[in-house]
Symmetry: C2
Subunit: 374 residues, 2 copies
Amino acid sequence: MSADDSIQTTDLHRTIALARERKRARLTEIGPWKYLQFVGKVRTIPEGTVIFDEHMIWGYPKIGRILQLDTGIRTQFQQPFWIEEKIDGYNVRIFRHQDAILALTRRGYICPFTTDRLDDLIDRRLFAEHPELVLCAEVAGPGNPYCEAHPPFVPEDVQLFAFDIMRLDQPGFLPYRDKIQLLDAYRLPGVPRFGRYQASDLEKIRGLLLKLDREGREGIVFKEDSPEDRRVKYVTGSTNISDIWANEGSVQQLPPEYFMHRILRLTLFMEEHGLEPTADIHRELGRSLIETITKAVEQYRRHHKVFHTFRCRFRQRANAELMMQAMHHLLGENQVRQHSLTQEGDYYRLEFEKILPRTTGLLNHLLSGGIAYD
Amino acid sequence: MSADDSIQTTDLHRTIALARERKRARLTEIGPWKYLQFVGKVRTIPEGTVIFDEHMIWGYPKIGRILQLDTGIRTQFQQPFWIEEKIDGYNVRIFRHQDAILALTRRGYICPFTTDRLDDLIDRRLFAEHPELVLCAEVAGPGNPYCEAHPPFVPEDVQLFAFDIMRLDQPGFLPYRDKIQLLDAYRLPGVPRFGRYQASDLEKIRGLLLKLDREGREGIVFKEDSPEDRRVKYVTGSTNISDIWANEGSVQQLPPEYFMHRILRLTLFMEEHGLEPTADIHRELGRSLIETITKAVEQYRRHHKVFHTFRCRFRQRANAELMMQAMHHLLGENQVRQHSLTQEGDYYRLEFEKILPRTTGLLNHLLSGGIAYD
């Protein structure tokens, strides 16, 4: 979206009033911060948008996915496009609010973890000199508090990979070249960038994807080199099996589409790129599905619940406590349980579990001999 | 349900009126037959119930499923129970209407195929001498017009396996011993019966199931030896993989639960019965899921549609024509296409395809480069 599309102030106020009325915008309080959070889309304002005092940080827009590379890029792009790596982590928007630099999750919650660790992740100078900017990035690694999966090239803790820059109060992103200039100027870590292509470069792009697939990396995002800034994503075959592994025990927690769509994507990837499905891939897919359930059953038999365990490091003890508090508030008091919070060098190490209530409930019912109807 | 529960006539009339008002009962016309069909449950009247002139044939009740044998039989049964084999086919209720003997599908459609083939499947004498009875059975085999799967012991055409007897105008079934007596007296083919057990016979029942599993058979139905006639079913691990194979191309057609539930059942079966998941099972599961999609993609690329092909034999040409007519009416003119109808000895051989419109639509969108949002 360009500045031309920006909504007139009165329109904006009307939309906000409508959102509050429909309960799609509400006041959220996390630690010392109190702000308006859009928990659903209203008119042109996406979910995850927040308003802090006089400033609005627009939600990060959804990016559609193609499942067929060849026809996909020919259909979706009339002009050349940039290709960047898609990183398997969680999406944040980082911005300055008064004297603080804060990180928002995709849904518009302040993330006490990311906010706490900013000095490990980026150079804050960007916001000292450009308080009007919003840095959009993926935070990824085994030490994150949200997702089970992480890229193979982040072996410990977390790293940040910036992929977009927005402005306060504006939807849409800075042009690609301006973004790179700023990332370079402030030595901000960006997602790997693979260059500028067009649809006729199919074979080069295919080669890139097959390399990423072999390396167990998630995929790519296409960004059109045009004012429309059209975007789509495309993932590798191997990432689908990793996703199934990563969601161990979630068989009932996630919608069943989660798994079936990944099997479909894996199959279409192999089909399009001429990768014969080998016995190894069959076995690996079957094993990922079965062991995911077996582990949940084992966990249920031992603990009478199914849960995932997370371990992450904080600079300040208070932020770890705030993280737990925010999760209790968000997921429910009984759904998150702190295992430990201990000092470790300059950091505080938090270990906690998130319970999967639907999986736990289903296994409780079935393993105790309950009846299911199809 | 016993006769004590049978609804008073005035109550019944009120329920029928309510069902018609809510569009859960409607007039259905198939060939020369016109009757009231319950297309949904209303009060105690189940879906699939039909009313022919003055007689009502109650719908066949749903049978719940246990996924854990041990706790399941202990929880569900206080008294001994009979065990019968569960056959992988389609459910019919056969009854006499004036001078005709008709077969209804589970949902309450007259099945021109089963009706046509009755002389090959059963001895009609039952209905000459007991016009008040309704025979409930599974029809199974590769020559059936509805399902892709079939039991390994029906290598061609179809066979009938009776498992219950009802009475016109009454819900519930004849007592187990009365049923056997009638099936024996009229030499009606029944489902394999494995005898009478109680929950403490767990190891014997487990042995039976492991044998059925190795033989690629679907599973068992438990029927309590009591006036309550409680019932549950339990399937073997191997049937879950057969089900995935059988639904080749249906990846988008069937709800995603279809597949995920089968993977869950397979895993719980192996876990409970101490079958170590081998590389073979992993490979077979992965292969069934991937090839199911690959075949749909191949079919789409060749024919621009995804479909299943059925071949079945009729005694009368008019019944084959009526079958096609009924399917066109039920599924839509474009969703079923006759390939051929040719005489073959004393029979007419019908070949037709059923299109999977959702799978076709999805592949059309994705393979032409369309975007999907998660």
